[in-house]
Subunit: 516 residues, 2 copies
Amino acid sequence: MNLKIKNALISVSDKEKLTSLLKVFKKFKVKIISTGGTYKYIKKQGYNCLELSKYTGFKEMLDGRVKTLHPKIHAGILHDRNNKKHKTEMSTEKFPSLDLIIVNFYPFQNIVMRSKNPKNIIENIDIGGPTLVRAAAKNFKNVTIITSKNDYKDLAHELNSNKGKTSLNFREHMSAKAFGLTSYYDAMIANWFNKSLKIEFPDRKTIFGKKFKQLRYGENPHQESSIYINDYDDKNLGLKQIHGKELSYNNYNDLFTGLEILESLKGKNVTVVIKHANPCGISVNKIPIISLKHALSCDPLSAFGGVVACNFKINKKIAIELSKIFLEVVLAKGFDKESLKILKRRKNIRIIDISKFKFKNNMYIKSFSGSFLVQNRNDKIVKMRELKCVTKLKPSKKEITEIELAFNFCKYVKSNAIVLCNNSSTIGIGSGQPSRVDSCKLAIQKAKKFQPEKIKNSIAASDAFFPFVDGLELLVRAGVRTIVQPGGSIKDKEIINYANKAKIRMLFTGTRNFYH
Amino acid sequence: MNLKIKNALISVSDKEKLTSLLKVFKKFKVKIISTGGTYKYIKKQGYNCLELSKYTGFKEMLDGRVKTLHPKIHAGILHDRNNKKHKTEMSTEKFPSLDLIIVNFYPFQNIVMRSKNPKNIIENIDIGGPTLVRAAAKNFKNVTIITSKNDYKDLAHELNSNKGKTSLNFREHMSAKAFGLTSYYDAMIANWFNKSLKIEFPDRKTIFGKKFKQLRYGENPHQESSIYINDYDDKNLGLKQIHGKELSYNNYNDLFTGLEILESLKGKNVTVVIKHANPCGISVNKIPIISLKHALSCDPLSAFGGVVACNFKINKKIAIELSKIFLEVVLAKGFDKESLKILKRRKNIRIIDISKFKFKNNMYIKSFSGSFLVQNRNDKIVKMRELKCVTKLKPSKKEITEIELAFNFCKYVKSNAIVLCNNSSTIGIGSGQPSRVDSCKLAIQKAKKFQPEKIKNSIAASDAFFPFVDGLELLVRAGVRTIVQPGGSIKDKEIINYANKAKIRMLFTGTRNFYH
């Protein structure tokens, strides 16, 4: 049912675009009630407006903490216009109806961003505003609630096309949006409290996000998808797209893996090649272009159509190397002018500057049919001193650096994961297999195919312990001379014996790195 | 700072355990103000209590819609006890302080569960309650907020050990909990509105969950984890554990995959074996025990330590078969007495009855550093009529049923996925590879190892198109005679030509099924 707007209550912290509405209100003779800053603003624009305290007869108190929390206001919003008893009570109390509520909150995230003072942050939690919004949203049958300046245009359109009335459909949609806002607002507050109290797994958990972009589709063309940002101070994820088509769901999924790996190897020059959310090449090298070349040569066939992530700046030379193959996305910490000229020759390649990307160490969610698993991120980086050599043959100090790296690489390969490394670069990756021996086979096959000369004396890293000797045997036979793995199998003794007999080095990390 | 409780406002829908508190309040001479049902309850228990309307001097109206939304109440909560101006204003108005607020909401989910009437659901959205809770939670420096009967014990302990006072630390924790509740409550409402308006990707999205269980650890022992339920009417996910250790994160992850596959094959007898969140055997058969045997024989080595999911009841015979290998978890639609006796001989096996499990078709979330991707579930099941035969050789009607099945199996294998099928069962699964040809190799290797006799005339399903002929060549050489794939490659023509030359059947589905 269409509903005539007679009385409107306006209380907005952001006054932009408000004037456009005031004109429409004047046209339809809408009476405006308002508080503090909004009241002054409306008067200044030359429109009529009644101050809220004059309307309620109650002077606002406690520096504005209590102004709209008044029965005259809330009865005006909440009464059922079709209920006789309600109508009688309203006329007994001489409470008029409020038909339109326009409220926006001072954005909590801005305060959290700017202020490190908890007192100031808490002071800014709005109590009256959300109550007005929730009351009006509940009673959308009778009241219109507007919570965003972006909806002013639609409201004006409603009034203009319905002779000063709003439609039920419009009111219901605005109500859904309003509860979207109050839940988002309180989720921000709850998460802020939990963070400051170091509560990671509260009894009731709310995850909030603001839509950043609707994606063309999801993992597949028949699935719909959007990406949301849930950080207080982030407007674009820290990713600046310079060129190419919009990022797809699968692009995001791949680049998340890339950024995660770069984060874990901070301080080194790193290149990662990603395909189907699995790395198919990782390399660390003092010389950026060599790290790129080594990463690509791990599996040049799979790199085709992949995502390349570098944590260094791209220059002309590197760009020439990159443009030799077809890539979907290139991520790097900046691109010089010449490099962009070269890269942009490919029309579709997505070029993303990650210079401003900052990792937020948040919780990881896996959702499934009415439930979700939450865990904290696997941000543990195994350090040299945690490596325990269990064989007679020991690695040198220099070798240990390589071993540490190999183990940290394999953390990002889907389980079961086996990674062969040489010279701080992967040379064979065995991923996503139901049995470890299969992953060993895969890693060896890859290395044999593309860089057989590098298998000799290479390092094999395993994300979890070897349940049997079989995988080890394959690795040793292929030429691997060092194995790094968590240890912890009931067959460890047998496995260590085998390693000693085979005259290889084996190190236990004590840390498992499953990843699915 | 410890804070003396002088005046408490209590308004609870669930009155359980309240009496225990009333005794403590009497001891410390706490004055109680209360509304409607709570007021009557307290009086009946023989304790003193002041009715809220007498306290405010304002008679509650609109069937209780407006009672606590009153300046005397909210100033009583919100004023800063250390602010001179606030204190003066409070004494001018003769408003006393309210030091403790106890509120619980009538659970919104119960109403959604019981009522199909939107009017009734909306009527039950609480406005006054959340406002009291938010106001008190904001002012935790001066006020104690209790939102759950489970916290009464702690409150009593606080009062008893601090001579009628509460500590700042306690109040702050209760405040975090309170905002947890209000955000959860509004997230439920917002999601209900969005659902009824068919809005899947609102501007602001909140995902809510109630902690179901804290898990021993996450994907790895050094990660913490909990599982949350976000459905209105669900208390245990519909999973009834009959025997064995508690489910781990990885168990849940695996069984989610199992339940997802069972859901997609409703109406048939199905067994799925899962390892590392990938199926390593799926079989459909009229005779349940045969479906189990076939599923296990796809990769008997990997099945070791796996999760088996059946959508039929387990009897003695099936239990004997199941107990031949070591399994982490068995899921089935019920177990008869004899079967349980047999299965329970293994102390650690987790036995789960899924008879009451109901699939909720919700959104899928992938979270990453300050952002999350949302997509709707890939619930599309490709039907026979969507299969387009592109080769000269055509399959029979009976064969088409098998082909349809094979394609729907491969949807749940991590990309790139190739699945070889024979007799409605997988005989070789190639998963999680960066290039399709690698997945082809893997699937063939598996089949050759365990059931070479079944490769001849088998069906190969691919989750996405073949970019080159290479994978196809391997499959044909191994003995595959039917290939089902989405199609859509720029090389389709070449690929169809090859299939015709090789005298195999090839069908296009038009549907891609990436899964990462």
